[in-house]
């Protein structure tokens, strides 16, 4: 189904009505221009000019800069180079003890602390938005969960150069 900029803005903001979501956005076939529409909406929502290449989550993007491709937050903080694990450049809070876990969950419905299982909350070091939460056993490596192949996407799938190369 074809969608318009207004609908995508509302989709991103979570303000799209169920009727529009059901009738215009969810059904197949999907609108072929969705990526570009989304990218344009996101670009207009941030206060900086670096071209967004791909959104990673609600607050992080891979962007093009004069110093190469970077992971940048919507607040303006630049976390790292695009190929790096951005979580290693955040601030992290770890919940492992029962009293820390039971702040979020009730008694009997959170992990047994004797199992040394952790919730790792990763925050933007500038604005403290919560960017990711890992639920892993103690000692587990911090995974780089998505490593996008940006040039293959633009050049092979979109048949154009990435915005930072145009």
């Amino acid at each position: 189904m074809a969608t318009n900029n207004d609908q995508i803005e509302k989709l991103i903001e979570g303000e799209l009505s169920w009727q529009e979501l059901r009738n215009d956005v969810l059904p197949d076939p999907k609108d072929q221009q969705r990526f570009e529409t989304t990218r344009a909406v996101l670009q207009s929502s941030v206060d900086w000019d670096n071209p967004i290449l791909v959104p990673l989550n609600d607050h992080l993007y891979v962007v093009g800069t004069d110093e190469g491709r970077k992971v940048k937050a919507d607040c303006g903080a630049v976390l790292c180079d695009a190929g790096e694990n951005w979580k290693m450049h955040t601030d992290v809070r770890v919940r492992e003890d029962s009293d820390e876990l039971e702040e979020l969950y009730t008694t009997w419905m959170s992990p047994d602390e004797d199992w040394t299982f952790q919730l790792r909350e990763f925050f933007c070091p500038n604005c403290y938005e919560q960017l990711d939460v890992e639920a892993v056993p103690a000692g587990y490596p911090i995974l780089q969960k998505f490593d996008p192949d940006i040039d293959t996407f633009y050049e092979d799938w979109q048949d154009e150069l990435a915005p930072d190369k145009r």
């Binding site: 979570g14 959104p55 790792r120 939460v133 998505f146």
Partner: protein, 741 residues
Amino acid sequence: MSKTVDDTGDETDQPIGWDGQTLQEMLATSEELLEETDRYYGTETLELKDEDPFTYEQMFARVRGALVNARETALHVSASPIVREIGELSFQLYTPEGDCIAPSTGIIVHVHTGSLAIKYMIEEDYEHERGINPGDIFCNNDNELGNVHTTDVHTIVPIFHDGELVAWADGVTHEVDIGGMTRGHDQVASTSRYEDGLYATCEKIGDDDELYQDWKDRAQRAVRTPMYWDLDEKCRLSGCHMLRTAVEDMIDDVGVEQFKQFSREAIEEGRITLEERVKERLFPGTYRDASFMPVPFEEAGWKPTSQQNMLNHLPVEMEVFADGSLSVDMEGASPPGPHPYNSAAGSMQGGLWVSLTQCLLHDGKVNDGSYFAVDTNFPEGSVVNPQDPSRSYHTSWGSIMPSYNAVWKNLSRGFFARGFREEVVTGYSETGDTLQGGGQFDATEEYFPVGPFDLSCQGLGASAVRDGLDHGYAMWNPEADMGDIEEWEIVEWGLPYLGRELKPNTAGHGKYRGGAGWGALRVVAGASDVSLSKHVRPGVSFSTSGLHGGYPQATNYSVRAHETDLHDRFDDREQYPTGDRLPEDLDENIDGDIVRTERGLYFPTTFDEGDLVYYHMGGGPGYGDPLERSVERVVADVEEDIYTPDVVERVYGVVGEFDEASRTFDLDEEGTEQSKAEIRERRETESQPASEFWETERERIQDGDVSDPVTWMYSGVLDQSEEWGAQFREFWDLPAEFDME
């Protein structure tokens, strides 16, 4: 060469494959052409589809219609509510080589498992050694040869035309009991094959459309519920025969050559469709996630070998390639263990299908074509591909479901990157099994099984634009529903319900929350010799995460009450419990021996008259930062009993007064603003740079300062996978000889 029998009943030495080939020759040709051309059977163009699309689509619709018709009709032959009410059955149509042309609706996790069983029969040369003839009936539930778990049973029927095998029909049902070491269908106590129960290993169980008497006797005497077994078998067989008739009619209408051409083109189209959909919906690159399966058997386990706490590692790395193909790699999965969660590679591939059909291919031609477009690595000798028939595979979902929680998150990162936020799903609650067991109903002195499938209503994970579905989803059968209480009570005579209710605080927190779970309380009434086990996972630890700042759902616990004063309460017209809405609510309305643990499971336990059993189903994972959830939604959450007021204040910073009687929440706007600001300030003061965390956590690993089950996990994986071990050591900058014991 043994004789085979043609349609006229005459013996013949002619091969039964197409154009004078044996089945082994057909399978070898198929595999060679796929290898050479990357296309199913080397099909370069979809000629029938291109030249006569109407006929092609009509044929596919006819096959699908026949499959769905077989399912919807045959299920009425069954008496088991698991099959009849919940629809735990499916039918599939395969090529002679065992490649799925189309599945019915239902437990389509079996799209590929039936395929593996047929290929096994071909590779073992059943064509000559055992004979494959018109009217033959085969049966398989041997997991390593093509099945998900022991209690799923396949009936497989060859379809002939003029002496040639043109297709196979396969029907699967989930049995209420498979005759294992304990009552129930998904045993928790089983640690090896020798405790699993009845196995049929690609066995010929009938000919001339009749089941062998010795097979019927063997099977019905091997299970605790022979009547359900008998009717389930007749259900599968009648559905296969309906399908056979439909294929024969189609061949009469279009000719056998067109049917053959259609079979191959439909599978190639399935392969092409998946690649096109990947290019349309995902983003090329590498995706990583990991799930974990706690196995808290130290206290609960029966056999000495299983009496330990274990933690299975289920990592999933996926790659989306430039050509639109996908890979799923579980390098680093734990070794198999003395538990029922071992999962054969075919089971894992089944999990892939049931996932892809919901995430990516919900409107395409779903068949084995998709299988040929995905490169999978379920490492040999791991818990997701033990290659060891002596293992127990009774509850393989204990590995499948956590693993695909990771797959769904990986795919969702791709959807998000492409702007398809509405397609994001953070995962789901993993079902486990509510209750299993059985007993004798005093009024009839008959055995009644317990295996309610109301577990098929879990919380679904959130998307990136809305909350997850509350108590209405099962990953393994997207069409399943909870079933009326009365439907289960019809069968489970001695275990009526005292209540079903929404379970607050189960949903994973986030900007969009996961769907919520629910709970039920039941009582032993008018029954004796009752034994029940409960198996809801995960307890004791999380198995999966949320997405993009959302949290995982709450964990599960167990509670039961023995030697209760329930009958006294009935006599005295006093309040009795109807659930355990908030943990320990139950205790307020019952006196007795209340047993409560953080483990979501207990092994078979004796229950007496008036004893109570409680079980609850989980919520789904959340999406995004909870502080970004709109206050209006949080208020609604409290009023609808998704969360309690204390929890929303701590997690979402939403403050107010809740009136239970009117179920209204009076928002304190100023207090909420202040509370949210405090939560954000605490993030800054209570966090540390990830680099500092890395330093302290590294020291901890070097000191071995983690729990025994976590040590068990690392030790097993470092021993199992050189590749994963190298990544682990590289991340923590540990020497090559580092190990954990």
